[in-house]
Symmetry: C2
């Protein structure tokens, strides 16, 4: 992770840095609370952040070992594992050296979390961290239940870019590729989980901008929709979601290795609506978690790298 | 509200319309549950949707009367007032003819709610409804605690526009002005609440795109920031938030009268950080609620208009 004194020299002028949406500030004992964090795992929905944290707490106790082959043990009891800070906007949990946190829906909501959690970790003295997004998505020409492990975040035109206004003028914040080395390591631990590499289109709207024909308004035909999906597929796009491009650009700007793994709930060439039975839905949603657990288990078994 | 058969003729082809994020579908008895709704009041945070619903339930019982001067009574007991549908993403409550619902942070999250709640109401047979957004914001040259009642949603360059990709090409969805008649009626019931009319800039990022110097990265100077804020002020912009332009364009596209009233928590000419004592913060946050209650009280005392 880049030194925040370089990415934002003005931070040094703040007496106290209020992390408004997380409910912490830089006068809290962040070093003690978060100084050992190495992995941040992000989810759209609040309940997924909590469920993942509980599953990780269990799995770590039963199934993780460190480089010396010693069991990692349970970080805490189920009752102790509660969200930290404010739950007005996001739910944030810590299990060992892993933060599990929700980011809401869409790049703007995610960006608030990214700025604040990154400052939180910098205030805590963390220098070496990896970020992950786990979620659901609409597949483009892939079998439902497949995880798309993103190579690039792209915009709805298929271009690998994410623009924000800088003082009123649109600029590219940073490239929108994900870290190839980290992506490769995740691919290596996929076991029998169905994973494809591909580009991920991050749209600012679930209905109209993802070319769904089931929104409150729609002004294109089925043929036009299918032709658009085919153009996106030709550009290497394998799924639609709402965060990857902004996420990748933030992490590249900050020098944080990042990966995005979203399971596809449907194949958009075949339909627009998500209508899975509860068992299949739960199975699909569990797949990015399993892939993430595989990665965390492998990473914890490696000797620690000093920074 | 426009007829959805006209804004999206493809909806008629659906056997069942799954409102995925709300947790309802068109086979539910939506007419019985939501057929009488006339007002939808939206808030960013989940807890605000619930708190507003409880406050409204109390206020309606104590302080509202219909056109005949009869008390409105309590719609239900405190215990009965619970969120309806799925709480995975949004919290939705119904009190009398009012829905109080959260929309998360940012235009993409809000747009998901707008599509689904509008289809929900259309399936319920509702033809006449008004939408409101109540929230917090950063003021531009206005005293903290002032409500900005939005005339237009604008983008971070100050232009009154909101663009989405249509099949990969950026287009304007609809104009981003709020309903002047509705805005006028709200202004008329402000009593002693501090309200100004102005344009509202809806940004896709809380830190960088709102020209804050306290994000994880920043590449402009204080002078450049102040000059940008002054340019926005000259264009009639009185506050930054993250939803108004997309909200207005959706409502104009659907023919739904809409208004946006956000209290300012700080004056951005004076700083970037939100650091209010809890009492002042609660006071400021309550102001849009009071304004909304004044409007709802007035509207309920009017004879009903047949559609």
């Amino acid at each position: 992770m880049n030194n925040l004194a370089e990415t934002n020299p003005h931070l040094a002028d703040l007496n106290t840095d209020m992390l408004y949406h997380l409910g912490f500030n830089s006068k809290d004992n962040l070093k003690e609370m978060f100084g050992d964090v190495r992995y941040v795992v992000m989810h759209g929905a609040n309940h997924r952040a909590g469920d993942f944290a509980h599953t990780l707490n269990d799995t770590m106790a039963k199934d993780f070992a460190n480089a010396a082959g010693e069991s990692m043990g349970a970080d805490m009891s189920e009752d102790e594992l509660k969200p930290l800070g404010s739950t007005d906007r996001f739910f944030l949990y810590k299990v060992g050296d892993v933060i599990s946190v929700s980011h809401g829906m869409g790049q703007p909501s995610h960006s608030i979390l990214l700025h604040e959690v990154t400052k939180l970790l910098a205030h805590a003295g963390v220098k070496n961290v990896e970020y992950f997004r786990l979620g659901t998505s609409g597949g483009i020409g892939v079998e439902p239940g497949t995880i798309v492990l993103s190579e690039n975040g792209v915009d709805p035109s298929g271009e690998a870019q994410y623009k924000l206004h800088r003082l009123g003028e649109l600029v590219n914040v940073a490239p929108t590729n994900f870290d190839p080395e980290l992506v490769g390591k995740i691919l290596d631990v996929r076991d029998d989980i169905s994973v494809v590499l591909g580009n991920t289109s991050s749209n600012n709207d679930f209905h109209y901008e993802q070319a769904r024909m089931d929104g409150a308004y729609c002004d294109f035909t089925k043929d036009e929709q299918q032709a658009y999906l085919a153009r996106m597929h030709d550009k290497g796009v394998r799924n639609f979601e709402m965060e990857a491009a902004g996420f990748a650009s933030f992490c590249n700007r900050l020098g944080i290795p990042a990966a995005c793994m979203c399971v596809t709930l449907l194949n958009r060439f075949e339909g627009d609506q998500v209508d899975l039975d509860p068992v299949t839905y739960a199975d699909y949603c569990s797949r990015p978690w399993k892939l993430m657990m595989n990665y965390l288990k492998m990473a914890h078994a490696q000797p620690a790298v000093e920074v």
